[in-house]
Point group: C2
Chain length 216, copies 2
């Protein structure tokens, strides 16, 4: 048996497939339940029911409720950080910040449950991911602040406090996920349409970009 065949077998083996699929189903159910009930309000039984598995099976893949929760939070954090790719290779603030806002709005739309879990985690004092905040997030923030400061120094945008600007972007974009229920209620109880999402994105972009002196 050569190396390729072995790798192929490992990746395609039924065992591996079962594990991957079950973990996926469990994490998806957990994300939803944690988002809708909070960590304390969520029960392993509820997650199991939503995943269509016996509760004992959950504990086979994830030792404890906290382990499962940690994985859910880490998943959304990864997505969150990736949105920064828009930021990096941008020529100036109009392009960079505009693309970042669009990326974050897209995340709010496609991962509303993950966003809520993250918000909930932070609101409760980040008991699980405090170390991420102090290391990865801090470095990430410092890096983007430096980019914004360079744009300001180059006269490409108004001298707005870069940190506060990032907070404003985070707040406005995540609002559409975290407070989605309120927004839906004020929208006659109906989810936002494609057009409404585009309008919201455009409004956020235009107000912020004009607010930092990039648009006229």
């Amino acid at each position: 048996m050569n190396e390729n065949a072995r790798i192929s077998r490992i990746q395609k083996g039924k065992r591996t497939e079962i594990r991957r699929e079950n973990e996926r189903v469990i994490l998806e159910a957990a994300e939803k339940v944690f988002a809708e009930a909070g960590f304390g309000g969520a029960t392993m039984q509820l997650i199991a029911d939503m995943a269509g598995l016996p509760k004992a099976n959950l504990h086979y893949y994830f030792a404890t409720k906290e382990d499962l929760y940690r994985r859910v939070v880490q998943n959304i954090f990864e997505i969150w950080l990736h949105a920064a790719d828009s930021f990096d290779n941008a020529a100036g603030p109009a392009e960079g910040i505009g693309a970042y806002i669009e990326a974050k709005m897209e995340i709010s739309r496609r991962h509303p449950f993950g966003s809520k879990v993250w918000a909930s985690e932070v609101m409760h004092g980040a008991p699980v991911i405090q170390d991420y905040l102090e290391t990865t997030l801090r470095e990430w923030t410092d890096g983007r602040m430096a980019v914004i400061q360079r744009w300001i120094d180059a006269g490409l945008m108004a001298p707005v406090n870069p940190r506060q600007l990032l907070y404003m972007i985070w707040a406005t974009t995540q609002h559409y996920a975290d407070f989605g229920h309120q927004i839906e209620t004020l929208n006659a109880g109906k989810p936002l349409t494609d057009r409404q999402w585009r309008d919201a994105t455009e409004t956020v972009k235009s107000v912020i970009l004009r607010g930092i002196g990039v648009l006229v």
Copy 2:
């Protein structure tokens, strides 16, 4: 006994005083515990300990955990609505929206626990205050949107979607309460100083006001 004497006695009676004071202490403790642990994670025992009362005493004043929670949520909702007073008798958007942002930032600073409870309630689908969203909040929103629209029609500000503008103000201001822990962590673990709160308020105000074409 005349009417005045009776009212005076009722308001000053020790019984009334005891009830009012105990309810106040319990609500204050409950707000903090619900904010830090969520509804599901909060326990009556924890609230009782923080209030310095036996658990059974809590159930004397508030029949169920849900009753207590409902009162906490209603309290913050009242404060929330009152911030709109800044909006109403304003000559134009610079004054009205500026004052509203300041009022909401002040609420985020002075009632961080209440803000978090409100956010948590909405994030979880507003199980307790859904009717408020559909009645009071909707009317409130429609009213302010009309005011903003009049300003736009009068040429006092750029034609920004009034609804999205309100959402942006809610999001940016409440962010400082709901994500206060994250902001504090990124601030070297220290709470914002007076000066930093003023800076944050000014940045939010200037970016939004410039963003809607009110500032140059």
